[in-house]
Each structure stands twice: as structure tokens, then as C-alpha cells.
């Protein structure tokens, strides 16, 4: 099965398709159960980074009895190094809209929202046009489904699903306690399905070409293709659709500049992989691949040997310190301590052993933080400090 580790390009997301009306009509002629089964058998997992099975998510929301439900498309793409959603929404918006409408049909929701980050304000006019056209068609086929854009205002944490609901409800975007989960208690306390832009776009592919076609791509536990936002020290930055399960070594061969020292997979909240581990690292969701398998929202930042990993970490931690919502202790204070801690070590005010104390702190943050932000600070911190300890020290 070594072949599946190789880099394989795919072309589904951005493929020009002018048949969305047909796909939508076809979908709503099937029963919701059929559609859910189709999704489940495709093994599509959320493309925002966490990798929750999409079919299951729809199923859970469909099972809850409530007259009002919501479908939300999470376009608060704030992870540093990620820019695929912007491209999807500007190139193939109707795929996303179709995905939302089908989801609405499946779970019984009549309202959909696209939570668009404030930085993408300029997408609004085009997207609104697409929505108007789309809603017009829905009305035509008697599908009661409306979509509205909700603009964010510059807060990374609002990408966290419950924080996003809070934000839409006009409050501070602070994550809620879980449980209850969105499938039973989401936006306005109603059952809600919230999916990433890319995930919704993939559902279009699945509903059009069938689950089999999607399932055949990728490897076990990580099926299908995925968009990767490639940036940093690379001769060809941009967005690429690749099959999941590739090894990082192959990826670097293709996109590296020949001097790649490390790759940050998954943005600031992801992991840093040093050169010596490229071979044993595969890109996909946690599963039984040999070596390490890393989930990702699609951000791939490459660093060559001229880059100081201290600066990278410093930049990430500064980002987290600012973007933490500030409500829970481990994240609010922890991020400040990590940032000040590595600076103190770098300046020689604290000795290198202090890094171990900080590593222990990230462990605590991972265990106890209220939401994914605080929990994932540990990822980049520990992977960078463990692999480039010498660069952190005075």
C-alpha cells in the first residue's frame, strides 16, 4: 500500500460545475436517511481541523426533535496560514450553498447562516449575489431555505463553534461549556449543524459523484481529498487539492525550496515537524498509519534553514495571547506565561530547565482549557520546543 503515501493531486473542489440546480433537486428527492447514509459511507470528516465525521454530525442533529434548527457555514477562517475557504467562497460559492441547503433539508432546518470573518468583507457583494440567485431557485423548487451572511469582526476565537454562536447572538465570542453540544443546543439554543466551508463543498462532490468516488481517494481513516494552503519558504505558494495520507517527505519534495528545515502543519494551533521526521509523518486524521499522522485544517507553512524557530514560536504565542478569549485561567494566563517564559529563557533570565516547566504547563492547558484554542497551544509549543530546544536557549 505504499502507493497511497505518495502525493496525488485531485481536482474536485474547484472543478467548474454548472449543474448545482440539478444536484440540489436530485438530493431533495431522496430521503434524508439516504443522504446521511451516503455521507457516512463516504467517511468525510470535518475539514476545519478537528475531523469530526460529518455524516454523524448531520445524523445527530436530524434526530433531535425541534421545529427550529439552523445550518451554519463556518467561514471564520482565522488560522494563520489558511486561506482556502476564501478561495472556495469566491470561486465556487454555489457548491457551499448547495451543501447547506441539503443539510437543511436533511436535518429539517429552514435557515442557514454563513459566518464570514471580518477580514473577508470584500467577498460579501459577490457572495450575496450568489445567495440571491440560489434562494430564488430554492423557492422555485419549493425548498424553504434562506441563507444570510453574518459578518465577524476580527476575533480568531469565533472560529470555535460555540464561540461563533455566542458571537452571532450578539455577545462576546466566548466558548460555552460542552456538553451540551451544538447538535442539541447550538445557535439560539436550537439544534445546529455547523460545518466548515470546505466540508460543505465536499458534500457537493459526494452527492454528485457518489460516496464511492470520494471514499476511493486517500487512505484508511483519512478518506478523500483536501485543500492545502501552502505558504512560507516555498517557490510555489498557493492552494492545492491533494489526496489525504501523503507523507510529508513527498510533500516537501514537491513544494519545498530544497532547504526545508521544518513544516508547520495546521497553522499556529498545529504541529511543527522537523526535517528528520518528514519520512515518518503522514498527513491525515489520527489513525493507524505508520509513524505519526497529523490532522490539519490545511495550513502548511514551510521554513528553510535561515529561519529562527524562536521567532516562529514567539509569533504564534503572541497570536494566542491576543486571541485567547480570556475567560478561562489556563488559556488566559498560560499563554502569557508561555510567551514571557520563552523570552526570559532566550534572554537568559531563566535557565533552560524552565522550558520543562513550561512544557508541563502546556500539558495542563491541554487537559483543562475550556475550548480547543487553549488546548491546542500545547501542540505548536511542545513540538517546537522539543525539536528545536537549542534555538530557544540563550
Amino acid at each position: 500500500m505504499t502507493t497511497s503515501y505518495q502525493l496525488k493531486r485531485a481536482d474536485f473542489i474547484f472543478k467548474y460545475e454548472n449543474d448545482w440546480e440539478k444536484i440540489l433537486s436530485k438530493c431533495i428527492s431522496r430521503t434524508p436517511q439516504e443522504l446521511i447514509n451516503e455521507l457516512i459511507s463516504s467517511e468525510l470528516k470535518g475539514r476545519g481541523g478537528a475531523g469530526f465525521p460529518t455524516g454523524l454530525k448531520w445524523k445527530l442533529a436530524a434526530e433531535v426533535v425541534d421545529a427550529t434548527k439552523y445550518v451554519i457555514c463556518n467561514a471564520d477562517e482565522g488560522e494563520p496560514g489558511t486561506f482556502k475557504d476564501r478561495e472556495i467562497l469566491s470561486m465556487v460559492p454555489y457548491k457551499v450553498l448547495t451543501g447547506m441547503a441539503v443539510c437543511g433539508y436533511v436535518i429539517g432546518a429552514k435557515e442557514g447562516y454563513i459566518y464570514l470573518r471580518g477580514e473577508y468583507f470584500f467577498l460579501q457583494p459577490e457572495l450575496n449575489k450568489a445567495i440571491r440567485e440560489f434562494e430564488y431557485y430554492c423557492k422555485g423548487i419549493n425548498l424553504d431555505f434562506t441563507i444570510r451572511i453574518f459578518m465577524g469582526s476580527g476575533a480568531y476565537i469565533c472560529g470555535e463553534e460555540t464561540a461563533l454562536f455566542e458571537s452571532m447572538e450578539g455577545k462576546r465570542g466566548e466558548p460555552r461549556n460542552k456538553p451540551p453540544f451544538p447538535s442539541s443546543y447550538g445557535y439560539m439554543g436550537k439544534p445546529t449543524v455547523i460545518n466548515n466551508v470546505e466540508t460543505l463543498a465536499h458534500t457537493y462532490t459526494i452527492f454528485k459523484y457518489g460516496a464511492k468516488r470520494f471514499y476511493d481517494l486517500g487512505v484508511q481513516y483519512s478518506r478523500g481529498s483536501k485543500l492545502f494552503s501552502v505558504s512560507g519558504d516555498t517557490p510555489k505558494p498557493g492552494i492545492y487539492e491533494l489526496e489525504l495520507g501523503m507523507s510529508l517527505a513527498d510533500f516537501v519534495d514537491e513544494f519545498g525550496d530544497g532547504d526545508t528545515k521544518a513544516v508547520q502543519v495546521g497553522g499556529a494551533s498545529g504541529f511543527l515537524v522537523p526535517r528528520k521526521r518528514f519520512d515518518e509523518t503522514a498527513i491525515g486524521f489520527q489513525g493507524k498509519l505508520t509513524g505519526i499522522s497529523l490532522p490539519t485544517g490545511g495550513s502548511m507553512m514551510l521554513f528553510n534553514s535561515s529561519r529562527s524557530m524562536f521567532n516562529v514560536l514567539d509569533n504564534y504565542l503572541e497570536f494566542f495571547r491576543e486571541e485567547s478569549c480570556g475567560q478561562c485561567t489556563p488559556c488566559r494566563v498560560g499563554c502569557q506565561q508561555l510567551l514571557m517564559g520563552i523570552k526570559a529563557v532566550k534572554r537568559g533570565e531563566k535557565n533552560a530547565k524552565y522550558l520543562d516547566k513550561l512544557l508541563r504547563l502546556t500539558e495542563t492547558m491541554k487537559l483543562t482549557a475550556k475550548c480547543g484554542l487553549g488546548q491546542s497551544v500545547a501542540n505548536s509549543f511542545s513540538s517546537i520546543v522539543e525539536n528545536f530546544r537549542e534555538e530557544m536557549i540563550y
Partner: protein
Amino acid sequence: MVKKIKISINGIFVEVEDGTTILDAARKAGVIIPTLCFHKDLCIAGNCRVCVVEVAGQKRLAAACATPCEEEMEIFTNSLNVLHSRKQIIELLLSEHNADCTSCFKNGNCELQKLASDYKILKQDFIRLVPFKNYTIDKYSPSIIKDDSKCIRCQRCVRTCAELQGVNALTVAYKGDLMKITTFFEKPMNDVVCSTCGQCINHCPTGALVERNYIEKVWDAISDKTKHVVVQTAPAVRVGLGEELGLGQGVRVTGKMVAALKRLGFDAVMDTDFTADLTIMEEGTELLMRLKAVLVDHDPAVKLPMATSCSPGWIKYIEHLFPDYLDHLSTCKSPQQMFGALAKTYYAKARNLDPETIVSVSIMPCTAKKFEAARPEMHDSGYRDVDYVLTTRELAIMIKQAGIDFMKLDDMHFDRLMGESTGAAVIFGATGGVMEAALRTVYELVTGRDVPFENLNITPVRGMDGVKEASIKIENPLKEWAFLDGVELKCAVAHGLVNAKKVMDSIISGQANYHFIEFMACPGGCLGGGGQPIPTSPEIRLKRAKAIYAEDEGMPLRKSHQNPEIIKIYKDFLGKPLSEKSHHLLHTQYTARKRY
């Protein structure tokens, strides 16, 4: 029938109702989980993360206060992971906390201090964040001091201000490292909608919110031989003070308190209860006048329902949020201010003292009284009516400072002239008490008979329900009150400003047609006031209320108009209720304020 589920906590099996949080289940099983942001009075936040526990099969730890139990859950409150994480979280909290305990007002009664001492965080490795931040200490309010360097962002104050009081003076602002608890545009507490009720102080686990204390000022006055220092004590103080001095909750210490005040060196120790009785006389008469004006004269300028005005937190609240409804307020000053005005007139004259030399101190369960005493209207005696207001907590500190062995004190009585009171005055300290006291007197004035409740206990207005209603039908009144025959006097009682808002909203929307409403700013009335001992909880407030009613039942006189000193003051000084002198000294007016 609520479903029962079985869980195990540290290997102990317990059965709990579906929906119970892990924290409650653990308490049931005799397992203590430490908490900080959790408070019984408030909604669940789950943000301090001190209460994290391990649930078998879950990767991450769960916040016990916010996680409901599920069938067959296996919970460990004490695993290595939990212990390590909890310790580190406390360490993190300490790193952003200004830990100058020895100069902190909350020293010895601080939840963070206790947590740190229980978990013995002996090494502070983390970088201290306090010196790197520009913390502000807001000292502008006459009632409350807010010190951000001691704040641990548990948001208990914010939830108190919004949920219990509906004031929303405090809010969470900014995010990340800048996140802080502040007011609208970071204005001083004195410039915003804050009612100065002090409930935030009662709920703050640390010393970030404390009352502005006037202990030194009072000591100076006592030491000054040229001054005659008069002190008055509010009804609720006598059922709270004991808690600060090591006695149990709900223990009455009236006699010991008086003895302690004398030992402290006050020249006269008198009772706010006296003016509480006086309030009933004035306010009761005012109510009857208003009823007459509305029912007989149809005077559109006179408004009903009439609202009580004893609670300065409530006064400031209505001035901010319902400035158009100020004419519903009784014009009576609060008992404290009546006392202050009389101390420098009636008392000075009777004792042949120069009012200039009198320093009037009051001991209150309340922080809003500090604000009230500083209002410009409160100078009717020609001087500032009340010079210093101390909370129950401050009095306890003074007693400790003076080295008084409180337990060994013999009971003493208040001094004459303004020290006599009735049971009706005592119950001013509990929610519903003013209403009950007023009805006891008004009913008797109108009908000549006792109020028709067993043992004078008007039970419908007692208890801890947020809004209570009662009505009394007046039958066979005395001749001069004939117009009230058959009138059903409708009353309501609200405590906690969020309940006050509910009642106000129902008045504005026209749903309610009460005649008389008692409003108290703090949950439970004065006994749960912002100046009372910390901690507070529904159970503690209930115990204090019980003590208040027990004090009432033990009094020989239980109706305000029976108080011999009240009869004397009307005879010697005031004339009759609502006389010109009364109007000058005992009544006031109100100011509309801004809404933020």
C-alpha cells in the same frame, strides 16, 4: 419523576438525579472539589478551571461545576493528572494576582488565599505578571474600591451585577491577556450606573472588590476629646456581626454589640431601629395621605403605588434606570439619615451639645449607605447628617483592633432618647419587614384593631421569594378613614434589584395595580446586604432572617406607634407625622441620573 443515574466518584457509587453536575454529585458523596468561579447564588461559568476532574475514557479533564453526570460515568477527583493540573492552575492564578496579603482588606477571608494554603503552592516559578501590567485601582466611589491587580477574572461580580441585581455596572471587556472586568468605557464606579449595593463585594473571592473603609477616620474621631461621637446600628447588623467574630450563622448579638461599641469609646450608642419606627410613622402617614389624594381627591399629581425609600441602593438604581418614576418613591429618608438629622438637632438640644462637635457614625449592613451619607441633600441638620458609615465587617475589625474579647462581654442596652425600638423596627432587616411593620401600624391607625394575622406575623410577605404579594381588605375603619372601607390594600415586596426591575416593568406596562411596594436592593433584604459578613448564600440568609424574626417575637412592643420614645419625640420636638419639622428633617427628594 426525574430519572436517576448511577455514577462512581473515586470508586464510591452514588445515585443522582439526571442533570446533576459532577460537583453536586461529589458533594453528595462527601468528596470536596475546590471551586472559585462557582457560587451558589449565580449561574455556572466554568472558567476558572480549578474544579477540573478526570472522567474515565475522556482525553481531557472536565470542569466539575459545568459538566452534567452521565449514566455509568466514572469520575476521579484526585488522580495525578487532576492534582498536577489543579496545582498549576492555582499557580497561574497566583502569577497574575497581586499577592500582598498582609496589606489586603480581605486577608484571612480570601478564597484564593485559602486555596493556595490548602494546596500549598510553595514555589512560585512562573513570572509574576502584576508588575508588567498597568492596573488601576478605582477609589472614586464612596462605597466600593475596585483593585484590578487582585482580580482573578472569575466574573462572579459581573454575574452578580447582572443576574442578582440587574444593574450591569460591571462587564467583561477586551479579550486575551487584556481581558478585564470593568465598567462602561472604564469609567470610575462612581460615574456609572452602579447602585453601590456592594453585592459584588459579597461575591468577590479575593480582595479585588472591597468597601471603602472609614475605620481610621472613626478612630480619629473617637480619640478626639473635643468630639462627641454618636453611633447608631442598623437592625441587620446584630444578626450578622457574630459571624465575623467567630460565632455561628444567624446568632443574635445585640447586647454584646452594644457593650462592644461602648468599649470602643463611642460617647452614645443608639439604635437605627428607633428611626425605623419613626419611618413607619412618617411613611405610613404618607401612604394614607396618598391614598386619600388618589381615591378621594383624584389628584393626578399624586402617584400610586408608593414605593419604600429605605434602601439607598434601590434609590440610586431607580434614579438611574427609571428616572421618570421618582415621584412614586416615598419622600421619607432612610432610617439612617433620619437618625443623622435628629442626632444633630433633637439629640444635641436634649443633651445640650453643640451640633458642630457631634460626629455621627452609623454601622450598616450596607455599602450604599456610604454613598447615601455623602449625598448633598443629606445636610438638613445644617451639618452633614451622618459623618461616617461603617459596614458590619468594618465594625468587627474595630472590635478586634481594640482587643475586645467579644465572647466575654456582658449584654448592655442602647442609650436613652433614640435607643428604644419595637419588633416592627427589627424586622426592617429582612425582606418584607418594612411592609409588615407598616401594615401593623397603618391597619391599626385606620381600624383601631390589630392587623388580622396570627401573632402579628404577616407571613405572606416573609420568605425568600423574589417578588411577594399580599393584600388586606379594610373593613369597619374609624370614622376619619371611612373612604377606605372595603378597599383592598394591595402590596408587593421585591428584593434583589433584578426583582425590583420585574416589578417596575409590570408597573410601567400597567399589569400591576399595587398601592404600596417595598423594595430592597439586596437579596434577602438588609440581612444579605453588601456590608454583611462574607460568605453569603441562600442558606446563610435564611438563618439570619430566622434570627431577625426571633428578635421581633422576643420584643415586648411590636408595633412602631407604641414606642414610647417615638411618642415622646412627636410630643417634644416634631409635633405630628408629616409636620413641617418632619418635612424639613426627615424627608428628601430624588435626582434623575444617567442610564449607563
